[in-house]
């Protein structure tokens, strides 16, 4: 593999772009693993890995997409080591979303977050990337290293599940149920990880 030495200005550019995507990495990580402190640990780990791998970053391409791949791989690795165990961040519980037009009951951010955490990991990340992060299906497919059709299918299933949970009020309550959900997620992760390489790609 050819690695060219970066100039000081290129390094400065990398640092600046990396700094800019940190809030997005935190948001993605928070959606992936329920607790804010664990999410931030994950982001710090991803930042160190990204910095160490900066020669593999193609200037001009999306720093957010590139670092999301690194974050995602760090998450999958940590999940398989069982670092995240049914944890849920209670600090979001008090925030209330604005009620959508035509809907009587406002959806709470905490409900949204809990519902999200019950989804299988691969559907959750697909929905986070497309529905929250604003990535196109194509970009999300690249980040998850799978086919575009697979991403579309995962997003569709995730949306259907969330719609069912949020409109029917069928959301698991608090920690005990989240632990159950996370066990299911852990079981699915082996499958996810088996189909996806761990190396970060540009």
């Amino acid at each position: 593999m050819e690695v060219t030495e970066r100039t000081a200005s290129e390094k400065a550019d990398f640092k600046r772009e990396l700094t800019q995507v940190v809030p997005h990495l935190r948001a993605f990580a928070r959606g992936l693993c329920g607790r804010a402190d664990m999410a931030d640990d994950l982001v710090q780990e991803a930042l160190l890995k990204a910095w160490a791998a900066q020669d593999r970053f193609q200037p001009g391409t999306s720093m957010r997409a590139w670092t999301f791949v690194i974050l995602r791989n760090a998450y999958l690795t940590d999940m398989r080591r069982n670092r995240f165990r049914g944890e849920y961040d209670e600090t979001v519980a008090e925030r209330i979303l604005t009620a959508p037009a035509g809907q009587e009951e406002p959806i709470h951010l905490s409900d949204m977050h809990r519902a999200l955490l019950t989804l299988p990991a691969e559907r959750r990340e697909a929905l986070l990337l497309v529905g929250a992060g604003g990535f196109s299906y194509e970009e999300a497919a690249t980040i998850c290293d799978c086919a575009v059709g697979t991403i579309k299918s995962r997003v569709g299933r995730a949306r259907a599940a969330l719609t069912s949970m949020l409109t029917d009020g069928d959301i698991p309550r608090r920690s005990a149920d989240d632990a159950t959900a996370h066990r299911a997620i852990l079981e699915e992760l082996d499958e996810v990880a088996a189909g996806n390489g761990i190396s970060a790609r540009g």
Binding site: K15, P23, D40, Q44, L47, T98, A160, L162
Partner: protein, 58 residues
């Protein structure tokens, strides 16, 4: 039991629920809000420290 006239999103029946999942659901904006609420947070000092330490690693 069927109740054809209903305005409550929470009480849609099977068929309506399927079509509801197809279009952008009511909560879609909430997902973005959840994400943006974290993006808009002040960056904790630990990140500022880490970022400032990166240069020293070269």
């Amino acid at each position: 039991m069927s109740s054809p006239k209903t305005d409550k999103p929470g009480s849609v029946t099977g068929k309506a629920k399927d079509s509801q999942a197809q279009r952008s659901p009511d909560w879609a904006n909430g997902l973005r809000q959840l994400y943006d609420s974290v993006v808009d947070e002040d960056l904790p000092d630990s990140f500022k420290d880490l970022l400032s330490q990166l240069d020293a690693k070269d």
